[in-house]
């Protein structure tokens, strides 16, 4: 019994089987191969995702950076346009005809109404010019006839003169009233000599 058992032993050990692998293996079909996920795809997908996320992040940083820039520029634009409007406002008042005429009178200028000369194309003088006379001056107090409450001492020396005249008509133009207007001391200080020579002269009509 025991010998029979001994002859039934396997002809080779299992170790031997491992040393000599079988030469037949199951080959996967082409479609199976194609369906199998490849690492490179996964890498591309992940890399792409990160690229998109990074791009999105950069874009949003860039956008919000732009938002701050816009906000800052808008603020400075607003400040500048406020400055511009404020300056234009003063300019419009300074160039109002009352102010220009009054300031010109302070400088001793007169209107040239009707004093212009004309030369004709055929030669000769078709209208002789004449000297502008004192009759065409505009009194410095003209602003009283064509009032403009925007001409204030802060805007024009004319405003200081008008304010002084309004405050004390009898002593208009004297240094006392001009000095009393402390806010316009610097401007009226320089113009008061001119005002003194013009104001006391009688206003003829």
């Amino acid at each position: 019994m025991s010998t029979i058992l001994a002859s039934d032993l396997p002809a080779f050990s299992p170790r031997e089987l491992e040393d000599h692998p079988r030469h037949i293996e199951i080959v996967s079909t082409r479609s199976q191969k194609r369906a199998r996920p490849r690492v490179v795809y996964a890498l591309v997908a992940v890399a792409g995702m990160f690229a998109i996320l990074t791009a999105q992040l950069l874009l949003s940083i860039w956008l919000s950076d732009g938002a701050y820039q816009i906000s800052a520029l808008q603020q400075s634009q607003q400040q500048l346009s406020r400055d511009q409007q404020s300056l234009k406002e003063s300019l419009d008042v300074l160039r109002s005809p009352q102010n220009l005429a009054g300031r010109a009178s302070e400088l001793g200028m007169v209107l040239n109404t009707g004093s212009q000369g004309f030369l004709s194309l055929t030669g000769g003088v078709s209208r002789a010019p004449s000297a502008a006379g004192a009759a065409t001056t505009v009194p410095v107090t003209a602003a009283a006839l064509t009032p403009n409450s925007l001409i204030t001492p802060a805007v024009s020396s004319l405003g200081a003169a008008a304010a002084a005249a309004a405050a004390n008509p009898a002593a208009a133009g004297t240094p006392a009233t001009t000095a009393a207007d402390g806010s316009a001391a610097s401007t009226s200080g320089t113009t008061s000599p001119a005002a003194q020579t013009v104001l006391p002269s009688p206003i003829t009509h």
Partner: protein
């Protein structure tokens, strides 16, 4: 050991509680997600989003050279929430030191910046300490705002407060009108409000924690619509000159009021419409209400002898007579139908032509000759000349003047020939002379040249279709006849402008009051220059002068303004000396 029954009860109890809690959650979920979803969404949006008003400016009124007569400037209301101010604040200086600024200090600093009384500001801050709103100063200008901002007081909010400004003050202030606190109050501001009015827009955006707008979150719900620019035909410099001239002379002769008009003949554009006294629209409260508005448009008066020019044109155009038509003129005349006509002053019997009648301004002469034309024809001519109707300007409150209905009574039959018993505005008188200057063609008088919207579309382009009133030869003849007034009339000395041929007519009309003519006068002078090629019409009127009750008061102003017009617009001098038809026979 455990009682299976009691454990089942506890299990059931626990389950019930779990179900109840889940049910409560479910109800709450439905409530939040479905029932109150809209409300909550809106609330959350309003927490994140800021609604801002896009301010649209009211349109400017500019003169023909683009000089701003009425504009809008920004002012700022200084507001605070007193509830946040009561404890003062800590001010950190540049070097890092911290100082406590008390409420009194705040009031003091703001009052200094806004030039107010410190007590007033302090009172506003403490009046109702729990309030969220207090107006510390209304409509401060930019330098003041900057001064307050530099104080770095937290919690001060500046609210935009646009204010209307009139840089030229009373120059053309009679025309542009003014703004009340609640809208346009008069003149073109009201009359052309449709062009000038603006609509503010609104924009909604979301902002981050630091107050910066989140990109892409802007929603414009209403687009802003700025007002259009109203361009006038007025020249502000000339308007000032005219205003100054009538103001000086008006003060000298003690007149109640005066007007001066400069009209360009070729297109009937008004270059200047001056009134004295005139309103300064910056300071409406400082002007008597009667001076607000333009007397040149709104005041109708009996124009007097300036109408003789129109009567002469009617006589010649109907073929009734010519420039040398003869009349034997006493100073006092009783007409066949019983009416009585007197000349201004007694004189011996004169042998005058129609030209002489104009030169001497004889009421009797024009009555004798003018009454040869039937009333109906005369009325038709008066209406063609633009009387008894407003001008094409259709100024706010413009008067039409009035002519009595036909048939006229025996006195009116003659009176209208020399401008009594009939009323007109200074503008209508200017139109008569411009029609004669323009070869008998009356164009629509224009004050508003155009209205330009910000997108460039131009509206309100005025009509240019004219009305033929008298023939070209009639117009030329009458203008030539009117040169006699300037060259040889009693006012000649104050009317001649060297180098130019001027044609014009004086008017001294009696002012009627309670059905009787009084000692008051409206004195005027209307004329065109150069007479051989008329380019500009000037009309000057003074109402109720105290010291000089004749047109001699208006003539020097006419000459002054006309000289300035000819100088300013570089009108070439006349090439031929002034001649006119014979005045006597």
């Amino acid at each position: 050991m455990t009682n299976p029954r009691s454990s089942r009860v506890r299990l059931t109890f626990a389950l019930l509680i779990v179900f109840a809690i889940v049910a409560v959650f479910a109800v709450r979920l439905v409530d939040i997600q479905i029932v109150r979803a809209d409300q909550l969404n809106a609330d959350s949006l309003s927490k994140r989003s800021i609604k801002s008003t896009t301010y649209a400016a009211r349109g400017d009124i500019v003169d023909s050279n683009g000089v701003v007569l009425a504009g809008t400037v920004q002012r700022y209301d200084v507001t605070v929430a007193p509830v946040n101010m009561q404890k003062g604040f800590l001010r950190t200086a540049k070097d890092g030191t911290k100082t406590t600024v008390t409420l009194l200090d705040i009031a003091n600093e703001i009052a200094t910046a806004t030039k107010q009384d410190q007590a007033v500001v302090y009172k506003k801050l403490t009046e109702s300490p729990q309030s969220n709103y207090a107006l510390l100063a209304g409509a401060v200008d930019l330098p003041t705002r900057r001064a307050i901002e530099s104080l770095k007081i937290p919690g001060i909010i500046f609210q935009l407060h646009p204010v209307r400004t009139y840089p030229d003050g009373s120059v053309a202030g009679n025309l542009v009108g003014y703004m009340n606190t609640d809208g346009p109050g008069g003149g073109l501001e009201l009359g052309d409000n449709k062009c000038l009015a603006s609509t503010n827009g609104s924009t909604t955006y979301q902002q981050g924690a630091d107050g910066v707008q989140i990109p892409g979150s802007v929603v414009t719900s209403t687009a802003s619509d700025p007002g259009g620019t109203l361009k006038l035909t007025i020249d502000s410099d000339l308007n000032w000159f005219a205003q100054q001239a009538i103001a000086e002379q008006g003060t000298a002769i003690g007149a109640q009021s005066g007007t001066a008009i400069v009209l360009r003949v070729k297109d009937f554009h008004l270059m200047a419409v001056a009134d004295w006294p005139s309103v300064d629209p910056n300071n409406i409260n400082g002007t008597p209400i009667g001076n607000v508005g333009s007397l040149a448009f709104t005041a109708q008066y009996e124009p007097g002898s300036v109408f003789k020019a129109m009567s002469a044109a009617t006589i010649i155009d109907t073929g009734t007579g010519s420039a040398t038509m003869q009349a034997t003129v006493p100073w006092h005349w009783v007409a066949p139908d019983g009416a009585i006509v007197n000349d201004f002053a007694p004189h011996p019997i004169q042998h005058l032509t129609l030209t002489g009648v104009l030169q001497e301004s004889s009421n009797v002469g024009i009555s004798m000759l003018g009454s040869l034309v039937p009333e109906q024809t005369r009325l038709a001519y008066m209406k063609k000349f633009g009387l008894d109707q407003t001008t094409a300007v259709k100024f706010l409150g413009e008067a039409t003047g009035s002519i009595q209905k036909l048939p006229w009574d025996s006195q009116t039959h003659y009176n209208v020939l020399y401008g009594q018993g009939v009323s007109a505005t200074a503008l209508q008188v200017a139109q008569i002379f411009a029609t004669l200057g323009n070869g008998g063609l009356r164009l629509p008088t224009t004050l508003v040249e155009s209205c330009t919207k910000p997108d460039g579309t131009v509206t309100e382009a005025p009509s240019t279709t004219g009305i033929r009133v008298v023939s070209e030869s009639t117009a030329k003849t009458v203008t030539n006849m009117l040169e006699s007034v300037v060259q040889g009339g009693e006012l000649a000395r104050s009317l001649v402008i060297p180098g130019y041929r001027v044609a014009g007519k004086s008017g001294t009309a009696e002012v009627a009051s309670h059905g009787r003519y009084t000692g008051d006068r409206v004195v005027s002078f209307a004329g065109v220059a150069p007479a051989e090629n008329p380019q500009y019409v000037v009309v000057v009127t003074y109402t109720k002068p105290a010291t000089m009750k004749s047109s001699a008061a208006a003539a020097p102003t006419f000459t002054k303004i006309m000289s300035q017009v000819l100088t300013k617009y570089r009108v070439p001098p006349s090439t031929t000396p002034s001649t006119y038809p014979a005045t006597s026979w």
